[in-house]
C-alpha cells in the first residue's frame, strides 16, 4: 500500500537506528515526548523501541482525545443517551471509556441506544433515517476532528435536519502542551509533534516551544519510519545545538495548515473559558463549544445535563501518565486492577492511550522476548 509499506521498511529502520545510536552522546539520556496518541499507538504496534538505543526514552503525551475526556462528560453523555428518544453516536473508541457510573457499553446493556460511527457524517445519516428520534453525536478529538464535526453540523443546518445535535468535547492541543511544559517534574529534550493536528493548525503554533522553552519539535507522520525519523531529527538538532520547529511530515502537513478547516471550526465553535482534562484538571481556553448561533444543534443546550464534576478514582494516575511523568507500568494499578478489560483510567481504553498501548503491545520483558524471538 502506498504511503504505508515504504514507511515500514525494516532495512531503512535499521539504517536510521544506527544513525540514531551514533547521534547519542555516550552516557547521556534523552527523553522525547510524542504528544499524540496516534504516535504512541505506532510506537507499540510496530515495536519501534526495539530500534532505539537504551539512552533514548519516548515519553507519552496528552494527545489521546479519548484519554483526556473527564468522567463527568462521559456521565453527561450517558445521561442524554438514556432518553428513549435519543440515539447516541460516537467513535468506537468511546465504547469502553469509564465514567462515574460505567461506560457507553454498560449504558447500552441497560438499554440506551448507542451506535458506533466511522464519521460524524454517518451520525447525520442516522438522523436523516430516523426522523422520529433525536440523534446526538458525541464529538471528541483535537483540531484534527473538530473541522469534520463543524462541517457535519453545517450540513445538518443546510439540510434542515433538526433532530441532529452535537455533544461537543473537542479540545485544543497547544494549551495541553503548555501545561506539560509548565509541569515542574518533567525534563524533556524535545517533542515529536502531532501530524494530523498540524494538518489543520500548521507548524507555526509550535514556535513558542522552541522560542520560549528551548526545545526542538519535529512534526511527524504516523508510520513507524516517520516517528523514527522524528527522533533522528530531534537528536540532530540537539547535536547541532539547534532548536527549531521542523516538519518531517511535509508530504501531508503544509506549514500553514488548512485555512478552510480553521475557518469552519471558527464559524461553528468558540473557545470555552476552561475545560476539565482527565488527570490534568481544568485548563483555560483548552476546549471548544458550539457558538450561540448554532445553539439549535448543541446537545449541551437541547438536553438537560447534570454537568457535574466527577473526581477521578483514587488509584488512578492517568494525570501523571498523560503528562509523561510516569511510564504506564509505573502506575500502581497498571495491569493488575487496571487492565483493558477493567480500565480504571481512560489511558487504558483507547489503543492510542499510553497504558493500553503498552499493555496490549509492549508489556513484556525485553530479555525474554529477545530470547524467544531469536530465529
Amino acid at each position: 500500500m502506498r504511503f504505508v509499506d515504504e514507511y515500514r521498511d525494516a532495512g531503512t529502520a535499521r539504517a536510521l537506528a544506527s544513525r540514531i545510536a551514533a547521534l547519542c552522546e555516550p552516557g547521556r539520556r534523552y527523553k522525547f515526548m510524542e504528544v499524540c496518541g496516534g504516535h504512541t499507538h505506532t510506537i507499540y504496534k510496530h515495536g519501534l523501541e526495539d530500534h532505539l538505543p537504551g539512552a533514548v526514552t519516548l515519553v507519552h503525551g496528552p494527545g489521546c482525545p479519548v484519554c483526556v475526556i473527564p468522567m463527568g462528560r462521559v456521565d453527561d453523555a450517558i445521561h442524554i443517551a438514556g432518553r428513549p428518544d435519543v440515539i447516541m453516536t460516537s467513535f468506537g473508541d468511546m465504547t469502553r471509556v469509564p465514567g462515574g457510573r460505567g461506560s457507553f457499553q454498560d449504558a447500552a446493556a441497560r438499554g440506551a441506544d448507542i451506535r458506533v460511527v466511522y464519521s460524524p457524517l454517518d451520525a447525520l445519516k442516522i438522523a436523516r433515517d430516523n426522523p422520529a428520534r433525536r440523534v446526538v453525536f458525541m464529538a471528541i478529538g483535537f483540531e484534527t476532528t473538530a473541522p469534520s464535526t463543524a462541517m457535519t453540523l453545517l450540513r445538518a443546518e443546510a439540510e434542515g435536519i433538526a433532530n441532529f445535535s452535537v455533544f461537543c468535547n473537542h479540545v485544543t492541543i497547544i494549551p495541553a502542551i503548555k501545561a506539560i511544559l509548565e509541569s515542574p517534574d518533567l525534563r524533556l529534550d524535545g517533542f515529536i509533534g502531532p501530524g494530523h493536528v498540524s494538518t489543520v493548525i500548521g507548524c507555526s503554533p509550535y514556535e513558542f516551544i522552541a522560542r520560549e522553552y528551548g526545545r526542538p519539535l519535529v512534526v511527524a507522520g504516523f508510520e513507524p519510519l516517520d516517528v523514527l525519523q522524528a527522533v533522528h531529527a530531534n537528536l540532530e538538532q540537539l547535536a547541532e545545538g539547534r532548536c527549531e520547529v521542523e516538519n518531517q511530515y511535509s508530504r501531508v502537513v503544509p506549514w500553514d495548515g488548512n485555512a478552510k478547516a480553521l475557518a469552519v471550526i471558527n464559524e461553528v465553535m468558540e473557545l470555552r473559558p476552561h475545560f476539565e482534562w482527565r488527570g490534568l484538571g481544568f485548563i483555560s481556553h483548552s476546549a471548544l463549544r458550539i457558538r450561540d448561533r448554532y445553539a439549535a444543534f448543541d446537545a449541551e443546550r437541547i438536553f438537560e445535563i447534570p454537568g457535574g464534576r466527577v473526581a477521578d478514582p483514587k488509584a488512578c494516575q492517568c494525570g501523571e501518565v498523560l503528562k509523561g511523568v510516569l511510564k504506564p507500568w509505573e502506575c500502581k494499578v497498571f495491569g493488575t486492577a487496571c487492565t483493558p478489560e477493567t480500565p480504571i483510567g481512560t489511558c487504558m481504553v483507547s489503543s492510542e492511550g499510553a497504558c493500553a498501548a503498552y499493555y496490549n503491545f509492549g508489556r513484556f520483558s525485553r530479555d525474554r522476548v529477545r530470547e524467544a524471538t531469536r530465529a
Binding site: 500500500m1 502506498r2 504511503f3 515504504e6 514507511y7 521498511d9 532495512g11 531503512t12 535499521r14 539504517a15 536510521l16 544506527s18 544513525r19 467513535f91 466511522y118 464519521s119 460524524p120 457524517l121 454517518d122 478529538g141 484534527t144 476532528t145 473541522p147 469534520s148 462541517m151 494530523h196 494538518t199 489543520v200 519510519l225 525519523q229 518531517q248 511535509s250 508530504r251 501531508v252 502537513v253 503544509p254 488548512n258 485555512a259 478552510k260 478547516a261 469552519v264
Partner: protein, 81 residues
C-alpha cells in the same frame, strides 16, 4: 459520485472504496490518482507528491548508505576471517 454533491469524492485504496467529503480541501485541485489524507470521512489534506518523493529519497539514501556500510563491514570481516 452524484453530480449534485461536489463535496464528495470516491476514494479507492487496495480495492477498498468509500465516499469522502472533500469540503475541507477548498482551493485544492483534485484529480483522479491524487492521494489524500482521510480522517473520519473527511479529506484533511492532499498529499504533496514532490515532498513525498524528497522525503522518501532521503530515507532511501540512508538505507542505501547503511547497506553499503554493512556490505563493507561484511567484506572486511570476510577478509579478516
Amino acid at each position: 459520485m452524484p453530480a449534485d454533491r461536489p463535496d464528495l469524492a470516491q476514494v479507492d485504496v487496495s480495492g477498498v472504496r468509500r465516499a469522502v467529503n472533500i469540503g475541507l480541501l477548498e482551493g485544492e485541485e483534485l484529480a483522479p490518482g491524487d492521494w489524500i489524507l482521510i480522517h473520519v470521512g473527511f479529506a484533511l489534506s492532499k498529499i504533496d507528491e514532490v515532498e513525498a518523493k524528497a522525503a522518501l529519497d532521503f530515507l532511501e539514501s540512508i538505507g542505501q548508505a547503511y547497506e553499503d556500510e554493512i556490505a563493507a563491514l561484511r567484506e572486511s570481516m570476510i577478509e579478516k576471517g
